[in-house]
């Protein structure tokens, strides 16, 4: 249950690069109106029909047409590839189960976690189905995915609130989080050297904040897109936000999956039964006070 993010700057950099490229390649360039009495009215018509298309419509069109699908593809391909490399070169971290068990997650927290996890998984999966809908042929399958996305969003929105409250205290940023980043959480070495982290390490904290606050933003922007009542320009911005945030969430989701399923042995079990082995806690959560 750990997190590493050497790819974050890379992702951000790639995003900016792609966005620039998409805009540069976009043929929907601003063109000026001709002169004359009718043309004086043209801009007003445009403002009424579609808002400031040149500012937001064009941006949305360009990004939606070429940036977002590529970005999501990148998110789906690059982190797993790097993780594969990491798995092969460095391998999973294993800890001594004989060192004893520490109750790390209470029952309620685990239930909430799994509810959120399930709904989030559905959200991510259906979201990706919509994004890559063309490869599924569209139609009722993807339309169905949209409906499921909607239902899952409701479940997620409900469960994310108690999750946020339950872990808020432990997720507050601490000075040692910086140090954790410097050593990359210790994942780049096979050595079992204690890393500076309390109940949750800096990577987990990042994921938490993204999933809860970011999830809230996703819910809000998603609702706006569902209701479709806002002015067009606002809808466009919502769609852009939803997509970028969605990509980030999916990326972190993948990292989270890797960490819990592969990188740290027993991680999955700990979220099922609530116990972590003592050695793991001492190494990866060295500042956690075991009662």
């Amino acid at each position: 249950m750990n997190l590493k993010n050497p790819y974050l700057p890379l992702i951000l950099w790639l995003t900016t690069l792609l966005a620039t490229l998409a805009l540069a390649a976009d043929p929907l360039q601003l063109t000026s109106f001709g002169a004359g009495p009718s043309s004086a009215a043209f801009r007003d018509f445009a403002a009424i029909t579609t808002g400031d298309w040149q500012r937001y419509g064009q941006l949305f069109t360009g990004w939606q047409a070429s940036l977002f699908p590529r970005l999501f593809l990148l998110v789906l391909v690059v982190p797993p590839a790097l993780f594969l490399l990491h798995f092969l070169v460095i391998g999973a971290k294993e800890f001594d189960h004989a060192s004893g068990r520490v109750l790390f997650f209470g029952l309620l927290v685990r239930i909430i976690h799994w509810l959120a996890a399930a709904s989030f998984t559905v959200l991510a999966a259906t979201g990706l189905m919509i994004i890559f809908g063309r490869h599924l042929g569209g139609g009722s399958l993807v339309m169905g995915a949209r409906s499921v996305h909607l239902v899952a969003a409701l479940v997620f929105t409900v469960t994310v609130i108690p999750m946020f409250l339950a872990w808020l205290r432990d997720m507050l940023p601490m000075p040692w989080d910086l140090a954790w980043f410097l050593v990359m959480g210790g994942y780049l070495s096979r050595k079992k050297k204690p890393v500076p982290a309390a109940r949750f390490n800096a990577g987990q904290k990042l994921w938490f904040w993204l999933a809860t606050v970011g999830g809230g933003v996703m819910a809000w922007s998603g609702y706006e897109l569902f209701a479709f009542r806002a002015v067009t320009d606002q809808l466009r911005l919502m769609a852009i936000l939803h997509n970028f945030l969605g990509a980030a969430l999916v990326a972190f989701f993948i990292i989270h999956l890797y960490m819990s399923l592969f990188a740290v042995r027993g991680s999955l079990a700990s979220m099922l039964n609530g116990y972590k082995c003592r050695e793991e806690v001492e190494i990866l959560h060295s500042r956690y006070r075991i009662d």
């Binding site: 063109t31 043309s39 043209f42 029909t49 047409a65 479709f228």
Partner: protein, 195 residues
Amino acid sequence: MARVKFLCDVERCIDCNGCVVACKEGNQVPVGINRRRVVTINEGRPGEKSISVACMHCADAPCIAVCPVDAIYQRDDGIVLVNKKICIGCGYCFMACPFGAPQFPGDRVFGARGAMDKCTFCAGGPVKTFSEEERRLYGQNRIAEGKVPLCAAMCATKALMAGDADIIADIYRKRVFRRGSGAGAWGWDRAYRGK
């Protein structure tokens, strides 16, 4: 190959909504869905002008570019159509459209959007031509009959023109010349960009 275009002459449009009802009645569009509508600025003041807006069937249509399921396509003659059986009602085309053309019936569960509906240039859709299904999903297929779209055909003042781009551009040019003043046709630079 030549393409079709819409052109609305702002100096002639009198906001009579003939095009709107012609479209709705002819294609049996449900109430609340506006494939075409008339927009008026400066209402009641000097400078009051109206324009009839629908899908312009753009060259390089933004809606086609953003559609995540490739439900929207363009025919060789420039007509942009949507396949309602593929469309998932995501609404991206509406956000991309410079003319606010795509419309969505809120007829799914929780009032979710159904498949997108928009002006078909009275060219039906991707099902059997003149079939009952085509009429129900998309409306008439007048293009296959060699007829112009209803809105333009029924325009009271011939402000709205539809058809071969070269011919209507010619007619408009003549009008502008006669008036001794005028401008490019509304929306053309954005929709067609010289194509």
